[in-house]
């Protein structure tokens, strides 16, 4: 329609460029809308980070480089046919599990937690692999089985989820453990877990909370929860993060204090402002409007992801695409909810925005999987 309105010469040229790009993306198994919305979030993230990091060009360029690296990973993962992914899923999971055990035995202790594995040339967190490996493995296991899953299947899938979750929780890294558990849980939910199981599980969790509180949580984790319930208890200690982030967001108002003008962030009242608490910088400097824009961009990513999942043509790809997308949503909500004081403080970064490489690369790999699934759906269906 539009091409008719525009001049013939101009339109044909633009059209040609457009179709050429489209064909190129298709050949590379890249999904244009998803890529665009992801890039939009990344761009916003970099802009906010520049301010949050106090105009530190090194941090900014470093993060930009990580986004670039993430895009390369995305493009590479997108080339993997879903069938290969499915066959490889249990192996990826197995490797991840071994690495987690290795971390428990020989891992580096950084900031009071044993999360890192030093391979000499690179240090990384095996728990990150599990964010993808657990959903993949669950989807792989459920792929051949009739759905909704029966009890035996559920028990096995639950084990697949809980073993790495507990290993990660022991490091201790409650945030990642929750995300890994959420990833697996989402697969089960999407696989059609019956309502009675859901309710039963809910009751079980409610019953388990006191036990977990007593025996599984570390002191600092308990402290975080208690502080979440009443931040004023310890305004200069555990409650400091929550109080300062709420002051930052609240003082931002509707339109914010302006880019690089957030006093909470710029004057260092806001802790971890370029990592876990970067959402507060958005709220302070860009206000409610900025938060809505960021949430809308997240919605675009999530919407496209769910669309891809709905279009997927076998159980494995459906479950994988659906769970990865919803995991992304959980990610975003847990972080913003924690910063806004809706949830206790857990170490979950704001996806694609927070400073730091590992989670970014994992997320990009996830989007790569989504694209791989989407670009090959016809091959599967016919």
């Amino acid at each position: 329609m539009r091409t008719e309105i525009a001049g013939p010469g101009h339109s044909s040229r633009a059209q040609r460029t457009f179709t050429l790009t489209g064909r190129l993306l298709e050949a590379l198994h890249i999904d244009g809308p998803l890529l665009l919305s992801v890039l939009a979030v990344c761009a916003v993230g970099l802009i906010v980070l520049y301010s949050a990091a106090g105009e530190d060009v090194h941090i900014f360029l470093g993060q930009a480089a990580r986004v670039g690296l993430g895009l390369v990973v995305l493009a590479c993962v997108a080339q993997i046919p879903p069938r290969v992914l499915r066959i490889g899923a249990p192996f990826l999971y197995g490797i991840g599990l071994l690495l987690l055990i290795a971390v428990a035995v020989v891992g580096d202790v950084a900031m009071g937690a044993q999360r890192w594995l030093d391979l000499g040339f690179i240090r990384f967190q095996p728990s990150e692999i599990m964010k993808i490996a657990v959903p993949l493995c669950c989807a792989w296991y459920l792929h051949e089985r009739p759905l909704p899953p029966d009890f035996t299947t559920l028990v096995i899938v639950a084990l697949i989820v809980l073993i790495p979750t507990l290993l990660i929780a022991e490091q201790p890294d409650l945030g990642t453990a929750l995300l890994v558990m959420a990833g697996g849980g989402l697969v089960i939910l999407l696989a059609g877990l019956q309502l009675r199981y859901i309710l039963g599980l809910g009751a079980l969790i409610a019953a388990a909370i006191p036990l977990v509180w007593q025996f599984l949580l570390h002191d600092y984790q308990r402290q975080r929860v208690l502080t979440f319930l009443n931040p004023q208890n310890d305004p200069l200690g555990a409650g400091y993060h929550t109080i300062q982030s709420q002051i930052a967001i609240g003082s931002g108002g509707i339109f914010g204090k302006g880019y690089m003008n957030g006093s909470q962030a710029q004057l260092e009242f806001l802790p971890e402002r370029s990592t876990d608490f970067i959402f507060a910088v958005v709220g302070e400097e860009w206000g409610l409007v900025g938060c809505i824009v960021l949430m809308a961009l997240y919605l675009l990513v999530i919407g496209r992801g769910l669309y891809i999942a709905a279009q997927a043509q076998d159980t494995f790809t459906r479950l994988t695409a659906g769970s990865l997308t919803l995991l992304f949503a959980v990610y975003a909500f847990v972080n913003s909810g924690m910063v806004a004081g809706l949830l206790p403080v857990v170490g979950v970064p704001l996806p694609l925005v927070s400073y730091g490489g590992t989670s970014l690369v994992t997320l990009m790999a996830g989007f790569g999987i989504l694209m791989a699934i989407h670009s090959r759906r016809k091959l599967v269906s016919t």
């Binding site: 690089m260 909470q264 004057l267 769910l306 999942a309 909500f333 806004a340």
Partner: protein
């Protein structure tokens, strides 16, 4: 099992998956709605509240102490200035462990171990958010030493502050007083908020008395601070409208002190324990206010260490005592002109009536002897000679006739025995005895009775009679003015620091001394001229001076000599020797300066105290060059002005 073996129904699965995705989308929207509601609550409903919190977070109010007013001598020569110096300040609120911090500062050598307890008390007495000085006037080396360890001392900061500098060190210290760190006691008497950021406060002298004028008004500024409370100046931030109220500097004070004169007097006294007060009789301006030995007030502004303070306080010469204001001495023979005037006023005698002096005086029918200082006596003496040669016998008789109560009533008119009301604190009253006084002063009935013998020794300025050098100078000025009195004062004008306007304070007249016949004044003044004339007890004071002096010597006994003993000064230890006194004014016909000199254990008023008065007169009355040339006991280069009694 049947369920395990059932086949996958791809179509049903896809539909079920679709429903789950829709449910998930719904949940996501609900969660987003929740988040949105929370943001709405924080950013719209509670926006004002959080805005205020964030303002409070980043803005801290810091006091700006006002520059203290300067002290200038009467010609504008600065006597107390402000000088920038670095000091170490501790803010309790930002210090995790005050005791530990002080202990570590002491370990670094930035605080004397003896001072730790006192410093701690000072910190605890102030508000938690006040920066309390821990150490004043750091040296460069100390600055560097602290800078290295600064990260280990949260809450301790180096601040540039104005400190007090007394450029002439100890000169005039007892008049100027000094400033020192605000102590616990000081906090009781000041409005602490007005002293926020101020380190030093006037402790003594003019610095103390005029504290309110000198202090000025504290300003404040809002500072942008980071979470650590450290000041920040960020480039990226739109500078919020930070308020600043400039401090108002304290007023400068023009003192009545003539610095040159003060210096001359102090130099003339040397290492003696002595006091000199010089007053302009025409308005009460105190031209020189000397008490020696002096001490360096700069030490107090820097903060004396405990040993330094002990060294000063325990010094046997008591340099901290202001002898001019707080030293009480028997006036000795310097009282005689006043007694003579009383005798004239009460009609006890007249100028010409003579008495015979044989060196001893007795009450009729009594064997008790009252000795004259001159063993062989003065022979026939009239009032002029009695004053000029300081004949004790003459005054024994005269004062016996006057009686103690009348003598008391007459002398107090000159301000003796009461505070002159000079504008520094701590003045002693001295004592002019009376029967009523003795009744009150003694508990035992038998001691309350007044004896006639006490009257006659009061008449030569001994016994209970006590005066301060300031009182003597003031009384001398009153003679010079023939009864007209002005309250002695040390500050003559105030300069407003903002406008530069100088407000001159008017002299404050006091009730004068009136006598029935103004010639009485001439009689005693002529006697005082006789004192410094050949044949007088201090003839050297006048020798060679181009102006005419009227004076009176005095000797005050430190301990009393028994009835039949002889005072042998060579056998008496130095500190038990008589005090030497001298009062004088000049020029006789146009009095411009009146002086009282007291030299402790100086023995003879004429030879010890007299030359000091002469040096003061020369410095004040002669042009600069002549004053420098004419040393006190100089040979009469200029023939003395005529009309001097031989």
């Amino acid at each position: 099992m049947a369920r395990n073996s059932r086949l996958k129904d791809h179509y049903a699965e896809q539909r079920m998956f679709g429903r789950r995705v829709v449910a998930a989308s719904f949940i996501i929207m609900v969660l987003l709605g929740l988040l949105f509601a929370r943001l709405l609550y924080l950013q719209v409903v509670k926006h004002d509240y959080f805005s205020e919190l964030s303002q409070g977070n980043r803005i801290r109010i810091e006091p700006i102490p006002p520059p203290r007013g300067l002290l200038l001598d009467r010609a504008g020569e600065p006597l107390a200035l402000n000088r920038p110096a670095y000091q170490l300040e501790l803010t309790r609120e930002q210090t995790p462990d005050v005791d530990d911090t002080l202990a570590r500062l002491a370990a670094l050598g930035l605080l004397l171990p003896e001072d730790v307890a006192r410093t701690r008390r000072a910190i605890m007495a102030r508000r938690a958010f006040d920066a309390v000085p821990v150490r004043l006037q750091l040296s460069e080396e100390e600055l560097a030493r602290f800078a290295v360890h600064r990260p280990d001392f949260p809450g301790v900061e180096i601040r540039p502050r104005l400190t007090r500098l007394y450029p002439h060190a100890g000169v005039g210290v007892h008049a100027l007083g000094y400033v020192a760190a605000i102590s616990e006691q000081d906090q009781q008497r000041i409005d602490v908020s007005k002293y926020a950021g101020t380190t030093l406060i006037g402790k003594l002298g003019i610095e103390r008395n005029y504290e309110e004028l000198l202090h000025g008004e504290t300003g404040y500024q809002q500072l942008l601070v980071n979470a650590q409370g450290r000041r920040v100046d960020r480039v990226g931030i739109k500078a919020p409208a930070l308020q600043r109220k400039e401090p108002i500097a304290g007023d400068d004070l023009y003192l009545t002190i003539d610095h040159k004169l003060q210096q001359v007097a102090e130099t003339a006294l040397g290492t003696q324990r002595a006091a000199v007060v010089a007053i302009d009789p025409r308005n009460g301006d105190v031209l020189a206010f000397v008490s020696t030995p002096t001490f360096d007030p700069n030490g107090f502004a820097r903060g004396l260490t405990v040993p330094e303070y002990r060294a000063l306080a325990d010094n046997i010469d008591k340099p901290l005592i202001d002898r001019a204001l707080r030293g009480v001495y028997p006036p000795g023979s310097t009282l005689k002109p006043f007694v003579a005037l009383a005798a004239l006023q009460y009609g006890v005698t007249d100028a010409e009536t003579t008495r015979l002096c044989r060196g001893v005086w007795r009450f009729p029918g009594s064997s008790r002897k009252f000795r004259d200082w001159k063993k062989q006596g003065h022979g026939t003496v009239d009032m002029h000679k009695a004053i000029a040669q300081s004949c004790d016998v003459y005054f024994y008789g005269v004062s016996d006739q006057i009686g103690i109560d009348r003598l008391h009533d007459f002398l107090v008119q000159f301000g003796l025995g009461t505070r002159t009301g000079i504008d520094v604190l701590g003045e002693r009253t001295g004592l002019v005895p009376s029967q009523a006084w003795k009744k009150k002063a003694f508990k035992k009935k038998e001691l309350q009775l007044w004896f006639p013998g006490e009257t006659v020794i009061a008449g030569i300025g001994q016994g209970y009679m006590l005066t301060t050098p300031l009182q003597l100078a003031h009384a001398t000025a009153t003679i010079a003015m023939r009864g007209q009195r002005f309250q002695p004062r040390l500050v003559r004008a105030v300069r407003d620091a903002r406008t530069g306007a100088v407000a001159t304070l008017p002299p404050r007249p006091l009730p004068g001394v009136t006598v029935d016949d103004p010639k009485y004044w001439d009689t005693i003044i002529s006697g005082m001229v006789g004192v410094v004339s050949p044949g007088g007890t201090a003839y050297r004071v006048q020798a060679g001076a181009p102006y005419r002096v009227a004076g009176k010597t005095g000797t005050a006994q430190v301990f009393s000599v028994g009835q039949n003993e002889k005072y042998n000064e060579s056998q008496v230890s130095e500190r038990l020797r008589d005090h030497a006194l001298f009062i004088a004014f000049a020029p006789v016909d146009d009095p411009q300066i009146a002086v009282a000199v007291v030299v402790e254990n100086g023995r003879h008023g004429g030879s010890t105290a007299g030359p000091i008065a002469r040096a003061v007169f020369d410095a004040y009355l002669l042009p600069h060059e002549a004053a420098a040339a004419a040393g006190p006991p100089a040979p009469p280069a200029v023939p003395p002005a005529g009309g001097i009694d031989e």
